[in-house]
Symmetry: C2
Subunit: 148 residues, 2 copies
C-alpha cells in the first residue's frame, strides 16, 4: 500500500527532525533550533506568557542558554508520532539536565507535544507545547520534581 | 482539488468534535467527554502525574466535577486546526470558569493542544496536553492568573 509506505517515511522524517532539533538544543545553537520551525509557529512554553511567537521564542532561548555552564542534557523518552499526509503530532516525556551558572544542578522532566506541518516537501514544527503539571494541594507549585 | 476538499471536511469534523467535547465538559458529562477519545489516548493534564491514561483521566474528571457548584464555563479562543488525511492537531487558549463548592470563584486560562487520529471514518482525540506555564522567578508558582 502506497499510503502505508508514505506514512512510514513521514514518521521517519519527523523522527529525524526531532533528533536534529534536540541536537541543536544540547549544543545551545539558537539558529539551528529555529531552522526546525515553521515561520508562523506558536509555542506554549514553560515560562509565561501563555504563548510565544517565533521572535519571542528565539529571544527566550538566547536569554536562557547562557544561564547554563556548558552543554544541556536532553533526553527524549516514549516518543509517539502520529503522521498524516501533511499534518502530524508527537508526544514524549523529555528530561533536561545541566549545571546552571550559579552551580545549581538542574534535572527536570517535562511533557512535550509537537504539531508538524509539511511545507513543500519539508516537515516543520508548527506548534510546540512544553509543560509540567502543578500541585492541586492549593499551593499552585509547579511539579518540577516528577519522574516518569 | 480533492485534497483540498478532504482537508476542509476533516477540519470541520474536528471542529465539531471539539465543540461536542466542550459541551460535555460544561455539563460535567464524563461519559460524553470520554466518547471523544481514542481508547489508548494519553493526557498531559494540569494535575500530576506527568501523564494519564484513559482510566486515570476519567477517574480524575469524576473526582473533579463535584468540586464545582453547577455547570463549568468553558470558552475556546484562537482555535487553530491543522488536519492531514488521518492525523491532525489543534491549539487554543481555553478559559475555565465556575464556582467551587467552597464558594470560591475560578477563572483560569490554560493552553490546550490536541492530537487527533482518524479511526475508521471517525476522528478521535488521541492525545491531549493542557497546562499553564510557571513563573521563572525561583518561586516555581504555576501562572494561574495569566490572560491572553
Amino acid at each position: 500500500m502506497v499510503t502505508g509506505i508514505n506514512k512510514t517515511t513521514d514518521e521517519d522524517k519527523i523522527r529525524a527532525l526531532i533528533d536534529g532539533w534536540a541536537k541543536a538544543l544540547r549544543t545551545k545553537d539558537v539558529n539551528g533550533i529555529m531552522s526546525h520551525y515553521a515561520p508562523d509557529f506558536v509555542a506554549f512554553d514553560l515560562a509565561p506568557p501563555l504563548q510565544h511567537g517565533a521572535d519571542a521564542f528565539s529571544k527566550g532561548l538566547e536569554d536562557w542558554f547562557p544561564t547554563f555552564e556548558g552543554p544541556i542534557g536532553y533526553e527524549i523518552r516514549g516518543l509517539s508520532i502520529s503522521a498524516g499526509n501533511d499534518a502530524a503530532f508527537s508526544s514524549s516525556l523529555n528530561r533536561m539536565t545541566g549545571t546552571k551558572s550559579s552551580g545549581e544542578k538542574m534535572d527536570l522532566w517535562v511533557r512535550a507535544t509537537f504539531g508538524f506541518r509539511k511545507i513543500g516537501d519539508q516537515w516543520k514544527i508548527a506548534h510546540e507545547h512544553v509543560s509540567v503539571p502543578f500541585h492541586m494541594d492549593g499551593s499552585f507549585r509547579a511539579a518540577v520534581d516528577l519522574r516518569p
